[in-house]
């Protein structure tokens, strides 16, 4: 359950309390090493936020863990799903239809753009009933009744009429509610929300976030919330994983991360958030772009964009993810003086895990 061998588990929770746990997950396609040694876990009723800019590997790491990544991707590591009855499933060991029996049933998904994520040719009803029909063996009439309940649950008025509608007949926020209903249809243990509010208007965003939080509290679902927006994640997540260039750079409980930001990249993310009264030409950005996954630099992945970039070590040696205590993990050579890193992981740096 620990992310890395050696140090204790960041959240120090017993195994049975995690719903989904990812250990040392790596994803590569050909020579591109898109995700490297990513570990995280999420417990029932909790929300894990995964933050990073586009190309950081955040979606790829999560989708590959559940078999939704590209077909030609090589995925290594360990992904464990613990269902509510206590059964543990080794997801990377499952193939084809065995994995399909987990997806939809045990893990629900909400994707970014509800305009394209729903099938334009099928009614809302058909898209809501097919999951429960397949996984729970519901008869068409039972599935229809359930679909109406689900629409009501996600706050769609007049469900009977909406069931007959096609996606294009609904507003964007309404479509995303339908998508949430689809995700919840079989009462899964885990919900994965991949940029679930990015394509929506700000007011609708807040509504959707509230809807998911409320349902999560009521149903005790574990949620993995993937977003490029630190503000969105900060508002809902219990723990945050910051990804960059396919690696985890910082990981901490949300409050801790916001109060005690350590990694220069995370600090950059905070600095680049627009503030009230700030003109657009005054917005800060982190110059440069993420590394090419086909040519990962030998040193720190953030080196060429880093504001600290202390010494040659950053360029030539790969920093290890270090536990600062209380489940605050940072991958950097420049750690706060008050809390020097334990010598043990730092000496292993030269090799890195690669």
């Amino acid at each position: 359950m620990s992310a890395l061998p050696g140090p204790p588990s960041p959240s120090a929770v017993p195994v049975s309390a995690t719903a989904l746990e990812v250990r040392s997950l790596s994803v590569s396609i050909g020579t591109a090493r898109i995700v490297r040694d990513v570990s995280w876990s999420v417990s029932p009723g909790q929300t894990l936020g995964i933050v990073g800019e586009s190309g950081s590997g955040k979606s790829m790491s999560v989708l590959s863990a559940v078999g939704l990544g590209p077909g030609n991707a090589r995925v290594t590591g360990d992904v464990r799903l613990t269902t509510s009855d206590g059964t543990e499933h080794d997801l990377l060991g499952l193939r084809g239809n065995a994995l399909r029996r987990i997806r939809g049933r045990r893990i629900g998904f909400v994707f970014q753009d509800p305009a394209t994520s729903l099938n334009p040719m099928l009614t809302v009803e058909r898209q809501l009933t097919e999951g429960p029909e397949v996984h729970l063996g519901l008869k068409p009439r039972e599935a229809r009744a359930r679909a109406a309940e689900l629409l009501e649950l996600v706050g769609i008025p007049d469900p009977a009429r909406r069931l007959k509608a096609y996606p294009h007949e609904l507003s964007g926020g309404m479509r995303q509610r339908v998508m949430i209903a689809v995700a919840l249809a079989c009462e899964p243990e885990v919900i994965i929300a991949d940029e679930a509010t990015t394509a929506l208007d700000v007011t609708i965003q807040a509504q959707i976030i509230d809807a998911i939080r409320e349902l999560q509290e009521r149903l005790g679902t574990a949620t993995v919330w993937i977003s490029h927006d630190l503000a969105v994640v900060g508002g809902i997540a219990d723990e945050v994983v910051v990804m960059y260039g396919g690696e985890v750079l910082e990981r901490a409980e949300t409050v801790r991360l916001f109060q005690d930001t350590v990694h220069p990249y995370t600090r950059g993310l905070f600095a680049s958030r627009p503030h009230l009264g700030q003109r657009s030409d005054q917005l800060l950005s982190i110059p440069g772009s993420p590394p090419d996954p086909r040519a990962i630099p030998p040193g720190c992945v953030f080196w060429d964009r880093c504001s600290v970039r202390g010494d040659d070590r950053c360029r030539t040696q790969h920093p290890e993810l270090v536990d600062l205590g209380d489940g605050h993990w940072v991958r950097s050579f420049y750690l706060p003086d008050a809390r020097p890193p334990s010598a043990e992981p730092a000496t292993r740096d030269q090799e890195g895990e690669r």
Binding site: F111, T116, L118, V134, H168
Partner: protein, 316 residues
């Protein structure tokens, strides 16, 4: 309903254009049909009498109006060569062409849809490579040449099928089937190959769409994802292409009918061109154009029916 009316209005405009072109055939073709018809026995008095009788002495616009108003009531004039009403000749030839075209279209559809789907789903496999190579070949084959090859193989060499001729399906279905199979394949191969490629690329495109990932994320069995979320959606854009391919088959029928001595509209057009039988040619071209229009109208209405995003009641 507004969409239907809109499409109908469009068809009427196109039909108007067709009648103009068909009418102009006589007037733009070099040479005077009556003079040519009289050949060496030219007599100015008879020539004038014939011109008056056929209305060719009147102003073109008047001739056009008269032609169209007669055509609407089913009178397409009289064939120069046989002296019979053109409408009568066309109606007699229509069943042969329709039966050949239908068989060709069926063959094209039955081959292209399964192959295109399999090829896309197994993208990059050996099956995919074979389908792509064969359909490329099929697109490039001239259909008259394919027809001759088929005759050589199945009639001359193997002696399995009669090389040519036509028996109405109402008279002897078995004999009809034996005779229609080779021209049917000939007509269907090119359209089938083109359709295969369209189906394949449309399915491939659909496979990469977000809503298919959603279907996969629901954990539906692969088979259900393919049938309900991929193939269904992929076939909508193919409907339009199918319409144009049906039109292409109608065009291809002319050549193929000549190769197989199939007494349909195509052979009639061919004979009419050779004999400079302009009224017959006009009538046949007009009829083929009308069939073309009707087929495309049906296809477009079908498209609107299948895709819920096109509202039959709303704005087109």
């Amino acid at each position: 309903m507004r969409y239907v009316l809109h499409r109908l209005a469009q068809s009427v405009v196109v039909l108007f254009g067709v009648t103009v072109v068909v009418f102009l055939i006589v007037h733009l073709v070099p040479g005077d049909p009556i003079r040519i018809g009289m050949g060496t026995r030219f007599d100015p008095e008879i020539y004038e009498a014939l011109r008056r009788a056929s209305g060719l002495d009147r102003p073109p616009l008047e001739q056009y109006v008269s032609y169209v108003s007669k055509a609407v009531s089913g009178d397409l004039g009289v064939s120069f060569r046989s002296g019979q009403p053109v409408t009568h000749l066309l109606v007699a030839r229509l069943p042969a062409t329709v039966s050949l075209a239908v068989v060709g279209i069926l063959i094209a559809l039955l081959v292209s849809f399964p192959l295109g789907i399999i090829s896309a789903v197994r993208n990059g496999s050996a099956v995919d490579s074979i389908v792509r190579a064969v359909s490329q070949l099929g697109v490039s084959l001239p259909n008259f040449w394919l027809g001759m090859l088929l005759i050589l193989l199945f009639s001359s060499t193997l002696g399995w099928l009669p090389p040519s001729g036509y028996t109405p399906i109402t008279e002897d279905p078995v004999e009809w089937a034996k005779r229609v199979i080779m021209p049917g394949i000939t007509v269907g191969v090119v359209a089938g190959s083109i359709l295969t490629r369209y189906v394949r690329s449309s399915v491939l495109e659909t496979l990469s769409m977000d809503h298919v990932r959603t279907a996969d994320s629901k954990g539906l069995p692969r088979r259900l994802v393919l049938s309900r979320h991929v193939v269904r959606n992929a076939l909508v854009p193919v409907i339009t292409v199918t319409g144009t391919q049906i039109a292409a088959i109608l065009g291809g029928v002319i050549v193929v009918e000549v190769v197989f001595a199939w007494p349909g509209l195509g052979l009639l057009v061919y004979d009419a061109v050779r004999a400079r039988d302009y009224p017959l040619l006009q009538g046949a071209v007009l009829l083929i154009a009308v069939i073309f229009l009707v087929v495309n109208l049906i296809v477009d209405l079908l498209y609107a029916k299948v895709d819920p995003r096109i509202q039959l009641g709303g704005d087109p």
